[in-house]
Symmetry: C2
Subunit: 139 residues, 2 copies
């Protein structure tokens, strides 16, 4: 039997995932240059859920505490979000969309849907369904 000694980088799931992510990022940046993918994720989650503590926003957008802090800082610098102290818990920072943030989100929403569609464009409907189901098992 073969020893399994060989290792073809291009066949490894991690490498393929990285290339797919790169292609998606390129599509995103082309369609929505105003914010990055992670910044948009934060805006989308705030639009979906309303104001959230910084930490919870990070958990809901899959960013650790250090990463979400940077994203929040940069979004605040653009006046797309604002942060206020939580009166009930002095550790917490409440993050909410500004008017400008909500306006931007709604303005680019069609583009955001188009990004998902364009990313999945090479696939048939069945393949899209299969991909979604499979990736959910891996997330």
């Amino acid at each position: 039997m073969a020893t399994g000694k060989s290792y073809i980088l291009d066949d490894q799931i991690g490498f393929v995932l990285r290339r797919v992510t790169q292609r998606h990022l390129a599509i995103f940046t082309d369609a929505i240059p105003e914010v990055t993918t992670t910044q948009f994720a934060a805006l989308a989650k705030l639009a979906e859920m309303g104001p959230l503590s910084q930490n919870l926003l990070g958990r809901l957008t899959a960013m650790d505490a250090a990463t979400i802090k940077g994203v929040v800082d940069r979004l605040r610098k653009q006046d797309l979000i604002e942060t206020t102290a939580d009166p009930d818990d002095r550790r917490r920072l409440t993050v909410s969309l500004t008017e400008a943030g909500r306006a931007l989100f709604e303005r680019v929403l069609p583009a955001a849907h188009a990004i998902t569609a364009r990313t999945l464009a090479p696939l048939s409907d069945e393949e899209r369904q299969a991909l979604q189901a499979i990736l959910l098992k891996l997330a």
Copy 2:
């Protein structure tokens, strides 16, 4: 009909891809703490192809010129690779594995295969085949 106004972050392909990538990274770091995913990709490609120019190595590992430079610098600092001037093209830098680099690669190879297996563990054989085929179309 619905306007399609809603946007659920967790359903977007880009977000799901990011979470899957995060899980894979955690599995990798746990199994091979010596080098990062990108560093290992570079080692693997050099092991697979032999010495390569820095730029070509970058293309084959899906890193742009700036990124591969950093990776090469750090691998060289660990004496896992070495760089030499190309006598035929003075622009080029030839990158090759050192003895230590090849030894490390071969030592962690079983772990690398295990990483792919562990990442795909939640899937059936059919799902793995489907995923591989679908991601290739998206890469």
